[in-house]
């Protein structure tokens, strides 16, 4: 068993950290009342895994996902969550059973996403760059190419 563990640890040490080189095809948007201007990739991941719950200004975080069949959802899942949509569904089954936490609510179109984010102070979501309008605020995500 010790050999197995050592072999596994060695494998991990040899593994280099190389984030996805595929360009992001979405921008992250928040409600205009949100004072946060930038997030790290890790922070964004934690928000969409519901591991972070409150904004620094004491507003509850309300992540909003896209429908699981949307292309932008699949890209977001891969680039931000480092998991496929299917693997994230399995993660949410696990979270529901062990922590009682449900997945983020979903929307089916950019228009719906924007209206939701514009109407809910703690909301955060993502849309294709071409769909952004002035009802929401774009947040810079460091570490996301």
């Amino acid at each position: 068993m010790i050999r197995t563990l050592l072999a596994a640890a060695l494998l991990v040490l040899l593994w280099t950290d190389h984030p996805s080189t595929q360009g992001a095809s979405f921008v992250v948007v928040v409600n205009k009342a949100n004072p946060v201007k930038a997030l790290t990739l890790v922070e964004l991941r934690r928000i969409f895994m519901k591991q972070s719950r409150m904004w620094s200004h004491a507003e509850p975080m309300v992540p909003v996902d896209w429908d699981s069949t949307a292309d932008v959802r699949q890209q977001f899942s891969k680039q931000v969550m480092n998991r496929s949509v299917r693997e994230m569904a399995e993660y949410w089954v696990q979270q529901s059973m062990t922590q009682g936490i449900t997945p983020p609510s979903t929307q089916r179109s950019a228009r719906s996403v924007l209206r939701f984010v514009a109407g809910v102070p703690g909301a955060i979501s993502y849309v294709p760059p071409a769909d952004v309008d002035d009802t929401v605020m774009v947040v810079k995500v460091t570490g996301l190419q």
Binding site: N82, V93, G100
Partner: protein, 425 residues
């Protein structure tokens, strides 16, 4: 026993009624949501059609007004949908699971179908507060001679009174989890109530989260399955590239486990335990690398009813690289001057999105229950949906010769098969 069961079932039904009523309310809201979404889809189609038309200058103004009117309708409908969705999401979250299993092996135990578990989980989040309750209906085995010592997939009561009859359908209702939690921030949170032990397998022992139908053989012999008490937890992390290096802790004070029942603890001196966890940075194909160490110190009541000190330490790791997973746990316990150890190593690979295969090598050496055994399990999971697991596995069990095993009985290796169908709802 029968009275207790009848009372428990009545209580369960009474308790479930509000949940059923709420479910029907949620179903009505979902239906309303679906209707609103259909209206939105129609409005979007009309809007697209109008926008594609090239109106002549004579009709441009009325057409523009029509588009604006439709746009307003659309916005109103979307607001309505979002409002309904928030109502649905703010209801108590009701989930559950269903587990039916079959097992047969070459031991003296008969083959058996078991309607094993039906669990209902209710949870609610309010800001920094969380509440979770899990009611579990567990059928006792159909055959009274089957005892739960061979690794049942269940995390509670330990040695129970034997079933009084072999009538299938009798069962027990247990509150497996009932806790509330306050998370001040990621560095500190506190959870009070009846909760699962913090070790990885106990936390994830639910039938649709495990790859195997059978629990690791050592599991019940080392750390207690549950603790009733107060647990503090938190973590700190440092960003590393697109990931982070994290250190987590848990510390708990809880009732001692007397014959598996912590309610019977009348001692002032309580049990305590702690857990430290390291989460290494991930990236690329490396998706998870966690290691953890656990310690537990308490008193345990054995069959003799004597109170004995019980100290347990354990180590574990979870590694996930691309489609490969490796889970290991090892633990050693000391009580009555005897030490007992157990471990498992479980590699697994996702063959396809819906298919996962696994192998597990495991061993238990326990003078306390005079059992020494090594087991190899190889199995396959088919998961057509994330919520459904169809599991099958073959295993070979090898009794080991030790000073403490029954020297007068011939222990022979045997093979077995177990399968389960699990539905999360």
């Amino acid at each position: 026993m029968t009275r207790t069961l009848v009372l428990a079932v009545v209580l369960f039904i009474a308790g479930a009624r509000p949940a059923l009523a709420q479910q029907s309310e949620i179903a009505a809201l979902r239906a309303e949501l679906a209707r609103q979404q259909a209206v939105i889809a129609q409005l979007l189609q009309r809007l697209d059609a109008l926008e594609k038309e090239k109106p002549s200058s004579a009709v441009a103004a009325p057409a523009s007004a029509a588009v604006q009117e439709l746009q307003d309708d659309l916005n109103a409908q979307e607001d309505s949908v979002n409002s309904l969705r928030e109502i649905v999401n703010n209801k108590v979250n009701v989930n559950g699971y269903y587990n039916f299993r079959f097992s047969a092996d070459g031991s003296e135990e008969p083959a058996a179908f078991q309607q094993h578990h039906l669990g209902v989980i209710m949870a609610k989040q309010l800001g920094r507060f969380n509440f979770l309750m899990e009611l579990e209906l567990q059928n006792v085995p159909h055959h009274p001679e089957i005892t739960p010592e061979n690794g049942e997939e269940h995390a509670d009561e330990g040695p129970e009174e034997k079933p009084e009859s072999d009538i299938s359908g009798e069962g027990q209702v247990a509150v497996e989890n009932a806790w509330m939690e306050y998370n001040h921030n990621r560095h500190f949170g506190v959870r009070v109530g009846k909760q699962l032990s913090p070790q990885y397998w106990w936390q994830n022992h639910y039938p649709n989260l495990t790859l195997s139908t059978l629990l690791p053989i050592y599991l019940r012999e080392l750390f207690p399955a549950e603790v009733v008490g107060v647990m503090m937890q938190g973590s700190v992390a440092k960003p590393v590239g697109s990931s982070e290096f994290g250190v987590g802790y848990k510390f708990y004070v809880a009732n001692n486990n007397f014959e598996g029942n912590s309610r019977a603890d009348l001692r002032d001196g309580k049990a305590w335990g702690a857990r430290g966890q390291l989460r290494f940075p991930t990236g690329g194909a490396l998706r998870r690398f966690d290691v953890a160490a656990d310690i537990y110190r308490g008193h345990v009541g054995l069959t003799t009813k004597e109170l004995v000190e019980d100290n347990v330490v354990g180590f574990e790791s979870q590694l996930e690289i691309s489609r490969f997973r490796l889970q290991t746990e090892w633990a050693r316990g000391e009580s009555l001057g005897m030490s007992r150890t157990g471990y498992y190593v479980q590699p697994a690979v996702r063959l396809h999105e819906d298919w996962i295969s696994f192998y597990r090598a495991e061993q238990l050496d326990s003078p306390r229950i005079r059992r020494a055994e090594r087991r190899h399990i190889a199995g396959l999971n088919y998961r057509p949906y994330p919520q459904i697991a169809l599991k099958g596995e073959f295993y070979r069990s090898q009794p080991l010769e030790r000073e403490f095993t029954h020297a007068d009985e011939e222990q022979k290796p045997f093979n077995g098969f177990a399968a389960a169908a699990v539905f999360f709802f």
